[in-house]
Every structure is written in C-alpha cells, then in structure tokens.
C-alpha cells in the first residue's frame, strides 16, 4: 500500500470523498488495495463503501489505480537501473579523462541516454514521494482538526495536486519501461461472431455491439458498421465495424476473446438459465502516414537526361519513370508536358500502389492474428462472463467482478474493466520482460 493511501486513512475519509464528489474532484482520488503478486481488485464490504455515492466512485478509484504498477519487483528493477546509471556515469568520466577508446565512449553514451529516459522521471518520482509528500502530509494532518474550512480545503487541494503529480510521474516511469506499440495509438476493426448457444448467442452479439457502440460514443470515437449479417428476429450472427479515433486499439485490444453470457433467454419458456458465447476479435488499423518511402528507395529515370540539358536542348520528352526498389513497383508517366508535374503524378500513384500492397500484407497478418486471438470460440477459452441473474460481470483474466451489469452493457463502466486489463498487461510485460 502506498504512502498516499495510508495518509488518507488518517483523514475523515468519508467527508473528504463526499466533498470531492461535490466539487467534481473525484477523478483525483486515488485508492487502491492490492494483493501481492496479482492484480486483484476488491472493495471492503462495509457501509461506507455501499453508500450510493461510493458505488459510483469505485469506478473512478479503480481507474486511477495505476499506482500499483510500481510493485516491489519493479521497484527493485528501477533501483538496479539507477545503480547502473551511476556506474556508467563514473565510467564515462574515467573514459573522458583517458580518452583512448572512442567506440567504448559512444557505447556508454548511448546506454546512458537510453537509461536516462527511465531514471530521470524515476528520480523525480522518488523525490516527490519522499520529502515533498511527507511535508504536505504533515500539514494535512495538522489541519484536519482546524475549524478554518477554507484552509482545510486549500491544504486538501494542495495534497490532491501532489497525488496527481506523483501519478503522472509514475505513469511516465512505467511508460518509459514499457515497450512501445504504435498500433495502440490508432484505430481498430472489431469483429463479433456468435459462438455456441444458437439464437441466444446471436442476440448477445447485438448486446455487445451496442456496448461497444456506446463506449465509443462516450470516448468520442467514430463508430461505423462495415457489415452485419442479421436474421429475422434481430439476432446478429456476425458483425464487422470500425472504431476510429486516437488510442482506440490500445484500449480495445483487450476485448479480444470469448465472452460468455448466462441468462434466461427471452425465447426460453421454462425459465432456465442458458450459457452462450460470442467471440470478439480486435484488429489494428494503420494510419495514412504509415505509407512513406525513403528517397533512397526510389530510382527516378528521365528518358532523355543525357547531354547538357538546360538551354542547350529543347526537350519535349517530359516522361518520368519511378521505380520503388524494395518492391519493384514501377510507375511511368508522360501525359503532362511538364516534367515536374509528371514526377508529382508518378509519386502519387506509386504511393497509392505501395499502400495497397501493404494493406494486402496487413490483411494476411490480421488473418493470422485473428486465428491466434479468437481460437475456436469454445466456452473453455472465455475471458469474461456476463451473469444477468447475479447482476455481475467478471473478467476472468484479472479476476475482476463488478456488480453493475447494466452500466457495463451501456458502455459506461466498460472503461473500468479495460483499465484493469491495461494495468494487468503492463504488470505482465514489466515482469516478464527483462528490462
């Protein structure tokens, strides 16, 4: 448990949080309780947390729980990096004075600058978490008993600012540690298919589709259905849609897998609970700027470029032929009487052709990805269960259960689960990768 949370306990937590809610500061509250060695989230079952305000607050709390990312293991890793950094700095100053091995020097420089990307924010974080926060906490505790409301609020605000700062720094450290995936920033294609369970599964495809549509709307992303195969009673066998916007894939990628529903189908007359599944596949979409070629990849030929050129000749041959060396694609244009215009046209066409080629390649990769992600759509590979009778949704990968099925299906609380999954994935990457 981090220091900041401990300090909260000393406060009149209920008052504090209520105030924050009134003042729309809920997003600044940071409370998280972790079990060691797994990213498991639950809430103490007492009256306090069952209050209506807090059941809504829970979501916020968990969505800001990235603090837990810096666990002892990561901490150890970071401390190791700090030591490595100071060791290298020492070596560097030695090398600089002796100056006999420039290659070695360059190597040290490179490693140092790479390390600094992680250690610089980490050092700042340590400073902020240490002395600076301590001071604020002391003042905070002193003022809890004071009658001067304004001062109290002021100190609390200051405290919150600090927590916010620490959070940002932590995120920076974690981001620096994590390998970067450019696809995360871009848009995504989502594919939903009915799995086991017949009509009931198909009906559930529609429910999940609505959930994503609403979620995209809340995130201000553009949602567009590309194809939909529907049967007579409104059940959807399969649907493909695009969600475009910033960071779509980075959030949506965790939705890939088998989603299970347990409920009494509207078609069931005997009132028995059925279990059905649908499969979800999320694919990244490349951005337009992904298609770029280096000048060195191009060979540009002009049909009469021998001779002196300029005033010496009056050439009418404005033809331009551009070869894209890596792919072997050739575009030749001679329609325009202006050579620069022909060149511009040829480049434009070349760009389109290369994009087309890369997209085809990408489609193959996607097919492969989909095969890996979705599997056969059997119940055993489930990632999440939606249980209507118990009003709960459980994500099995992180063992997270939320008792607010409707809020999830209307997209409002989906982000909570996604954030949990993000944290989980970050922890996995941080622990598995030998950073």
């Amino acid at each position: 448990m981090s220091r900041s949370i401990l300090s909260f306990k000393k406060l009149n937590l209920h008052n504090f949080i209520t105030k924050c809610v009134k003042r729309h500061y809920s997003s600044l509250i940071s409370i998280s309780i972790r079990r060691p060695s797994s990213a498991y989230y639950s809430y103490p079952n007492n009256d306090f947390f069952n209050s209506t305000i807090l059941s809504r607050l829970q979501l916020k709390i968990i969505s800001y729980s990235t603090e837990t990312l810096i666990n002892p293991k990561i901490h150890e890793k970071l401390e190791g990096l700090i030591i490595r950094h100071s060791l290298l700095s020492e070596q560097l100053s030695k090398q600089l004075s002796s100056n006999d091995d420039p290659d070695c020097l360059a190597k040290i420089f490179k490693e140092l600058s790479d390390l600094s990307e992680i250690t610089d924010p980490y050092n700042e974080l340590r400073k902020a978490q240490g002395v600076e926060l301590e001071e604020i906490n002391t003042i905070l505790q002193e003022t809890t008993t004071t009658k001067e409301e304004e001062l109290k609020v002021l100190v609390q605000e200051e405290h919150q600012e600090y927590l916010k700062k620490i959070k940002l720094l932590e995120q920076e450290v974690v981001q620096a540690l994590l390998p970067k995936d450019l696809a995360d920033e871009g848009s995504a294609v989502i594919e939903l298919r009915a799995g086991t369970g017949g009509d009931e599964a198909a009906l559930f495809v529609n429910d999940i589709l609505k959930m994503y549509e609403r979620y995209a709307e809340l995130r201000k992303w553009k949602f567009e259905i590309l194809s939909k195969s529907e049967d007579h009673n409104g059940a959807v066998k399969e649907v493909v849609a695009t969600i475009s916007g910033k960071g779509v894939f980075g959030n949506m990628k965790f939705e890939s897998g088998v989603h299970r529903v347990q409920r009494i189908p509207v078609t069931e007359k005997a009132g028995r609970v059925h279990t059905s599944t649908i499969t979800v596949a999320i694919l990244p979409v490349p951005s337009e700027t992904d298609v770029k070629f280096k000048d060195s990849d191009l060979r540009i030929d002009y049909y009469r470029s021998s001779g002196k050129g300029g005033q010496h000749v009056n050439t009418t041959s404005s033809a331009v032929r551009i070869t894209h060396i890596p792919s072997g694609i050739v575009v030749a244009i001679q329609d325009e009487r202006s050579q620069p215009k022909n060149k511009a046209k040829a480049l434009q066409i070349l760009q389109a052709r290369i994009y087309d080629m890369e997209r085809k390649k990408l489609q193959d990769e996607r097919r492969e990805n989909r095969r890996k992600q979705v599997g056969s759509g059997e119940r055993s590979e489930k990632i999440r269960t939606y249980n209507f009778a118990q009003n709960r949704v459980t994500d099995h990968r992180i063992n997270l259960t939320l008792y607010e099925l409707n809020n999830i299906l209307n997209g409002e609380s989906l982000q909570v689960i996604i954030n949990g999954l993000k944290v989980h994935s970050q922890i996995e990457i941080l622990q598995n990768n030998d950073i």
Binding site: I300, Y302, Y303, R304, S305, K308, G309, G310, Q311, H312, V313, N314, T315, T316, S317, S318, A319, Q334, D335, E336, R337, S338, Q339, P340, K341, K343
Partner: protein, 321 residues
C-alpha cells in the same frame, strides 16, 4: 497515324513512345482549333479527324519535322509552375530545369514570407526574364501582396511576350503580386541607368532582396553543336554568352557585390540564384562570386543530377534546404 509517328521519330531521338506522345499533343492541338468546346476533347479520344483536320495536322508535322520547329512554338504554350506560359519565336522556351528550381525557391520563399513582419515588400529582380516565366510564377505562388517582382530583358521580343503573358494571367486573376517588366541591358547599363532603374522599380529605392536569373550561358563552341530546333528558332542572344558562357554571371555578381543592387537583409534566404550550363562553369562562377564578397555559395543540382544553379549569399547562414 503510323506514318505520322514514323515522321516524328527523327526529331524524337527515335523514341517511339515520345513520338506517339508528340503526335497526341499535336492532334489535341488541332482539335482544340477546330472543335470547341475544349471539354469534349480528351487525349485518348479515338475521334477520326476529318480531311481538313488531317491537312492541318500534316502541316504541323511538316513544320515540326522539316523546319525543326519546337513543339512548344507549334502548340503555343509551355506549362511552367502551374501557369500555361505563352511561347513565341524567338523568345527562349521555358525549360523544365528552370521550372524545377523556380518551384524550389518558391517553396523556400512561401514560409519565409508568411512569417515576415516587415511592411516593406520583398523585392525580387529577375534578370533576363525572357517569356517572364520565373517572374510570373513567383507572382502566382507567393503570398498575396508580399512581394514586388521586377523582370528585365534586353530583347523587345522577350519584353512584349512577357507583357502579353502578364496581361493574360492578370486577366485570369492568377497573379497575387505586382509584376513589372522593363527593358535594361544588364551588361552595358551604366551606374546612372541602374540607379534610376532601382529608384523607379523598388518601393523604397534601395535595391532588391533577391536576384534570380536564367542568363545566356551557352559558349560559342557549344552553340555550333546545338540542334536545329534550338539554333534555328530560339534567339541567339538568349543563349550565347562570352567568357565561356559566364559573362552574365560575372556581371551580375559584380553589380550585386555591394549594398546597392542587392539590399542586405538579415534573413537566412539565398540572395542570388543563377542558372548555369553545367559543372564546367561551376568553379569559374563560384570563384568570381567569392571574389565579389559572396561568402556562402552552393550548387543546386537538377533532377537529372546536373549542376544547374549557383546559389549565393553574402553573409549569415543558408536556408537549410
């Protein structure tokens, strides 16, 4: 049609694609004369020509093949930086190399002029303007009312064609900056004449910010070897220069060497750009420029990888491109 292509082969270096392309353009030109509106004519149209049109086309091919008339004089225009420049013998036909470096300087000037805060307009001088292609392209592309452009030439043919082009683009509202053309013999002009010219043509009478020129640079020896379509049709004074083809470059460098013809601004832009005939002229022109106080001189190559322009600046640093 095949016999027409065959006839056009000789003047197209026996390149059949090029001959076909020329025939397409000629045919399109004939159709433009005989069938209007223009929108009905497309390059790939397989419309059969009537006898009159065939006769006309044959006459054009005769001119092209028997008389070595440049295609641009037959068609009457040459595209240059998005303008259809009217071409008339014997004024030099705009070359693609010139078009290339003109677009380059335009792309350098645009961001500079957009950020420039001075009220004084940016003064540009185009020496040996010919058809006016460089001056008019600058006027067309540079930010509205950011610059004054002045084109000078010795040839009355050139000046009247430049003014015709100016009139055409002005009436189609394609010019965004003031352009003036005047007669001036850059080689022989006296100091007084130049003083008067600077005073009359620039806003504050203090010289130009940028001098551009595509001056004659063909040597006497080279001239003898030129193809008929150049030698028989284009004005010799637009092509040939003394001193190994560098007489104009040296004269311009001399005139620009103090703060008189060339106003000393404090930007990162080049101050003087002159087209050259190739690498054989580089050292001569560059040394001369350095002697005239141009500390920074560099060469721009054209897309055929030939040394095409000397780009000079007296002080400060160059634009990064």
């Amino acid at each position: 049609m095949l016999h027409m292509i065959k006839r056009l082969l000789s003047i197209n270096g026996n390149n059949i694609n090029q001959a076909k392309q020329e025939l397409k353009w000629l045919k399109q030109h004939v159709l433009q004369q005989t069938r209007k509106p223009l929108s009905e004519i497309s390059l790939n149209e397989k419309k059969n020509l009537n006898n009159f049109e065939k006769k006309l086309l044959n006459e054009l091919i005769n001119e092209r093949v028997e008389k070595s008339k440049p295609l641009q004089y037959i068609l009457g225009t040459q595209p240059f930086c998005d303008l259809e420049i009217v071409t008339k013998p014997p004024v030099l036909i705009p070359r693609w190399e010139t078009e290339e470096w003109t677009s380059k300087i335009i792309s350098i000037l645009i961001p500079f002029l957009q950020q420039r805060k001075e009220k004084k307009k940016f003064e540009i001088l185009d020496i040996c303007t010919g058809s006016g292609c460089i001056a008019l392209s600058l006027s067309h592309h540079l930010p509205t009312n950011s610059s004054n452009i002045h084109g000078i030439d010795i040839s009355p043919y050139a000046l009247s064609l430049a003014k015709l082009n100016h009139h055409i683009f002005n009436s189609t509202k394609q010019l965004k900056n003031l352009v003036k053309f005047s007669k001036l013999d850059i080689l022989k002009a006296t100091r007084d004449e130049l003083d008067l010219f600077i005073k009359n043509s620039t806003e504050i009478g203090k010289g130009f910010d940028l001098i551009l020129s595509n001056p004659p640079y063909v040597t006497h020896e080279e001239y003898k070897t030129l193809q008929d379509d150049v030698k028989l049709w284009e004005d010799k004074i637009a092509l040939v220069a003394e001193e190994g083809g560098t007489a104009f470059h040296k004269r311009i460098a001399y005139l620009a060497k103090d703060n008189w013809l060339l106003y000393d601004s404090k930007s990162d832009l080049p101050q003087l750009i002159m087209e050259i005939g190739g690498s054989h002229q580089v050292s001569d022109v560059v040394n001369n420029l350095k002697n005239c106080g141009f500390k920074h001189v560099k060469i721009w190559k054209d897309i055929a990888n030939k040394d095409r322009c000397v780009v000079a600046k007296r002080t400060h640093f160059f634009h990064p491109t």
